[in-house]
Symmetry: C2
Subunit: 339 residues, 2 copies
């Protein structure tokens, strides 16, 4: 499915876009977003795509693209240089993840709150306010919630990462109201299937239970398979961020954050999709071993959303778990064992 068919009504605003910055550009999501952006039909008007990250860029395809410039360092330090010179648009993905923030609140506050504020103040100092897309997260939600989450549902963060994301949303809304930046915040569902090694995120198993069996490796499902989760695929996440970027301010509407469309599935349905796509033998590689901590965290996340506002803008999510598995198999053939 091509990019243009997903978002046929791309605004003419994008035709003026020349220089784009992605913070966290060497990370999993940043690399996927950069690839999607470079392959989009709008790429002829892109002169420079800057990928800023504290870690070096390891993606050889991106590194070889002459439009891409990779910059390595702490974002607050880079902002003191020429990082924002002539920038038209920013995707702000750089963040400390939930585990880090919970273990070291100061590190989380610096990486998430202080850095975002420094970025906003640097935007404000520019002659022309850039457009900025901030990647927030369903982690802003928690505690007592209605059965279905809407953009107007009050987030009650139950971890420092979610609190910091929600605070950044408020800063972006206020700086946008003041005209310092043309900002919009989008909350991503859990992105699956992530390639590579397992990580220690509570959500990590949502990739592992698909990725590992496809590679011929056993995997553990640490939650009751009846648990419901809210997911999207890497490509849909990237396309959602790009669509948020391309929406003109008058169409974007409210300054409150927008929940990106995703897929509400039970973990059992994820396992059924694995079986559909890769057969009985692959599915048999997953065993359920309940982990109370992970079950409590993941069980505390919402998994049913009303994303009418996002859908009205043409933003979409994956239609079925089978499509998510198929996307992974197509994008990472080297990580999939032949049947």
């Amino acid at each position: 499915m091509g990019y243009a068919s997903l978002y046929p009504s791309v605004s003419s605003v994008t035709l003026n876009v020349m220089k784009i910055l992605i913070t966290g550009g060497a990370g999993f999501l940043g690399v996927g977003l950069a690839g999607e952006f470079l392959n989009s039909e709008q790429n002829q008007i892109l002169t420079e795509l800057v990928l800023a990250d504290i870690a070096p860029l390891r993606d050889s395809v991106l590194a070889a693209d002459k439009r891409v410039r990779s910059v390595t360092g702490d974002l607050r330090g880079l902002l003191k240089g020429d990082l924002l010179n002539g920038v038209d648009g920013i995707f702000h993905l750089a963040a400390a993840v939930s585990g880090e923030c919970e273990a070291d609140i100061d590190a989380g506050m610096r990486a998430n709150l202080d850095t975002t504020r420094a970025l906003l103040d640097a935007c404000r100092a520019l002659a022309k306010p850039p457009r900025l897309v901030f990647s927030s997260s369903l982690a802003v939600y928690g505690g007592e919630m209605p059965d279905v989450i809407a953009d107007t549902t009050l987030p009650m963060p139950q971890n420092s990462y979610g609190a910091q994301k929600f605070i950044c949303e408020q800063l972006i809304a206020d700086y946008t109201r003041k005209g310092y930046v043309d900002g919009r915040s989008v909350r991503l569902p859990t992105v699956t299937v992530r390639p590579g090694k397992p990580n220690k995120a509570a959500s990590g198993f949502m990739s592992g239970i698909i990725r590992e069996p496809l590679a011929g490796v056993d995997a553990v499902c640490p939650v009751d398979p009846q648990t419901g989760v809210w997911v999207t695929s890497p490509r849909y996440a990237a396309r959602g961020l790009i669509a948020a970027f391309e929406t003109p301010p008058e169409k974007w509407g409210s300054r409150i954050a927008m929940n990106l469309p995703g897929l509400s599935v039970r973990v059992s349905e994820m396992l059924a999709a694995l079986k559909n796509c890769a057969g009985e033998k692959a599915a048999a590689r997953v065993r359920v071993e309940i982990d109370d901590t992970i079950s409590r965290i993941v069980g505390g996340w919402p998994w049913r959303f009303d994303t009418a506002r996002a859908r009205a803008l043409g933003l979409t999510g994956p239609a079925a778990m089978d499509d998510i598995v198929a996307e992974y198999r197509a994008d990472y053939p080297q990580a999939v064992q032949a049947r």
Copy 2:
């Protein structure tokens, strides 16, 4: 009406309270709160009441009370000294007001966000986490709203002051979740009748249209008298803050901010109360001269609230506008002209 009769179910927790700090303690609300606190039935367990403010304390009664210590200076500077040594409870009222924040966002961010964060980090460094009551405001609300605001209504701040207050609420919730402080945020209605000179707050007229006629001075009402507003009196505001302080954490419940009970009145009802209390001649001193800016700001504020959570804790608001006028006449007899 005595303090004890308003809040009969005072927790035994308060019997351990010894040293209290009020930031913004020399301001209108801080002075009222200090007076209410010193006069409460719990005062025998209070050994020291520290009033910290950037402005000097001008209230001679408080200054003469041997339990009161007044400290003047910037709060972030004072926190580097011994301000929090041995403190059991904090009322954090110090803030830049809406007009300042809108005119100078950096000043607002420093005075509201950075100072609150410094206070929270200083609390976290103490051996025993103090209890902290944060005075937030109905100014967090704006934009599209339901007809009746509940604690679970998503605030969409339409000014930097409201955004900063809402951000501080999030910080306090997260620091409380982490056990660094025993915090709770309460959102105050517009407090009227304030004594003294008119100020430039958009809400200033809500005091002026009562205070000036009572002093034999003409006043302007800058909004359509049909405008609805959400108000409380100085004493009810102070008592609400004290009750929030005295509520044990398990009774306080959710870490989201609590809207304090107030009174939903139309400005015309405020003028009718003036007439009831002070007669035809006083009421005739108010003339309506619509100010578009003030009308837009005040008209954008919510004025109907569901405060069930606060009321379940025994928090109350004034029953009628007549009571608010009567409180002002009783507390500031020197500012009221004989009829």
